[in-house]
Assembly symmetry: C2
Homo-oligomer: 333 residues x 2
């Protein structure tokens, strides 16, 4: 196992310390229980957004805390759900009186723990809504999930709902928007290589030199097919086709096209994929009016990519374009 780490036990905490040192103008790291908030939190009268999940998917979620996006993030151990006490403490810390939206990726542990935290905090009089993101078209159920997994649409939901919350939309409105983003977003991923969880010390699965896994999850969960390595254009087709079939995207729709790197994929390859994905979307009559290219929801050092397509409405465009200032995503400020 070759990693820039000191000890598998300390990776998450040391990375949090690094983030705290690097981004002290944006975030504050709280320990025991571990969570990240904006430096000035809570924001009075604003709906607060909280997300979280296992670590190893950076910059998701901690890298998205800041103006225009999340108010807090709860990092679990690598590929392990955070605990209800983290979520409870973070929820209380960011509630500015307008309630808190929990954005939850659909993994069994995350869903269960966020539910528990929501129940606990409601007892304290904090209004909480929860939205579960389940946008991965690859598989119906998977190793760690009943139903579809939550992947790339999470990043888009956090940005768009973050914009709506800054605009002082109500908790019910922000939650409804989040559900709509989830309903109109579809994703699928693939891997060229496995990744290695530090504690395990060996790759989560094995791919031969001429193989790839189509439909992979962000923890290396099995996908749809393990097949021979194909050219980039064919890979883009293999991801775009199930996405386009699943949601009735129709000619003339405005979409956001998000090509995401899994952590070990260089930018030059993501642009080769983007080229073809954009071409396929355009041939379908879709207008790619917004996009995102980069490694935003990762799986440690896995080589591979995912594609997310989100059907946009005017509100989504407005809130996507709104200013954002987080460690990993910044514009307009």
């Amino acid at each position: 196992m070759k990693k820039l780490i000191n000890n598998p036990d300390n990776v998450v905490l040391e990375a949090l310390d690094g983030m705290a040192a690097a981004h002290r103008d944006i975030i504050r790291v709280h320990k025991d229980p571990n969570f990240i908030t904006r430096i000035s939190s809570p924001v009075k009268g604003k709906v607060a957004l909280l997300s979280g999940g296992g670590s190893g998917h950076e910059p998701l979620h901690g890298g998205f805390v800041g103006l225009g996006m999340l108010d807090a993030a709860c990092p679990g151990a690598i590929f392990t759900s955070p605990t209800p006490d983290q979520m409870l403490a973070a929820t209380k810390a960011v509630d500015g009186g307008a309630g808190v939206l929990h954005i939850v990726k659909n993994y069994t542990g995350d869903v269960m723990n966020f539910e528990m935290a929501a129940d606990l905090v409601k007892g304290d009089g904090v209004a909480v809504e929860s939205v579960v993101i389940d946008d991965d078209v690859a598989v119906k159920d998977s190793t760690w999930t009943a139903g579809r997994r939550g992947v790339g649409t999470t990043v888009l939901a956090e940005k768009i709902c973050g914009g709506a919350a800054e605009a002082k939309r109500s908790l019910a409105e922000v939650a409804a928007l989040c559900r709509k983003v989830n309903a109109q977003g579809r994703s699928m991923g693939m891997a060229l290589t496995a990744c290695t969880v530090p504690h395990a010390g060996k790759p989560s699965f094995a791919l031969k030199e001429d193989e790839m896994e189509i439909g992979i999850g962000i923890h290396g969960e099995p996908g749809r097919h393990r097949v021979k390595l194909e050219k980039a254009d064919r890979i883009a087709e293999m991801l775009m086709q199930p996405i386009l079939e699943d949601l009735p995207f129709k000619s003339g729709d405005n979409v956001l096209l998000f090509v995401n790197g899994m952590g070990g994929t260089p930018a030059i390859e993501l642009y080769v994929i983007y080229r073809k994905a954009h071409e396929i979307a355009t041939k379908h009559g879709l207008a790619v009016v917004r996009n995102l290219v980069g490694s935003y929801i990762t799986s440690l050092e896995m080589a591979g990519c995912s594609i997310t397509l989100l059907k946009l409405d005017d509100d989504m465009v407005k809130y996507w374009d709104a200013p954002v200032h987080t460690p990993a995503l910044r514009w307009g400020v």
Copy 2:
């Protein structure tokens, strides 16, 4: 070789097409000869900044074209210098009457070709200044270089000088600032794994499962030592010590600390390195007043990192903070 590509011959052009499709609000891609400019170019009365080099280091340089940074970038083949005709065409395309600064990383081919292009364009009455970046403390001469290699400081020079050019500083002033940034910047890198040039089809060198290369170049050129893999904190020390010894950084200096990923390194590991590098800088009495963490000057899918330390003055801070809007770096706009 596992890569998201179609054909080794087309990687650079297809990635350029992908960039053009994704960033049509910022950049324009010109073909034959290949170069990238801002969409509205030249900017009248502003010094233009041009850089370039072999591809495979993305987002450097094409990802840094836009307001507040470069006016144009010339991408060569993978790890191969662009040609003088690319540089000539790009220089002419971006000259707004105030002259053009060539920012050149110190590799023999790049230096020679930029010199040739500068000579040619001067015959056409365009004022050109050239600054060679040679900030890598790892080796005195290397496979592809007489003198030190140009690495991480290039990114910082492009941002800072880009800010100065937007502020309508003269060509002589922007060139002087660029020389000062180079004089006050020091870098060193390391690799956990090699990278594979698509045409070669196999890794440029071999590292055993328990080995790393300290002082690696961005083309996989040999560094100072091939040694046993160490913990992240020790690696940060092994990079920071030669940097701190080389430039007389002294207690009280303001610095920018840049922790860079080599292309295949996940964010979580960069923050573990940042944590220790920040601690070492602070113990030395340096005030880390600005920083950058991410994969900005890469070596395809190489796993590893580099550290750059830049001693700042007030002008550098002002121009670092100035608005920037490029595919890879954006703030204030």
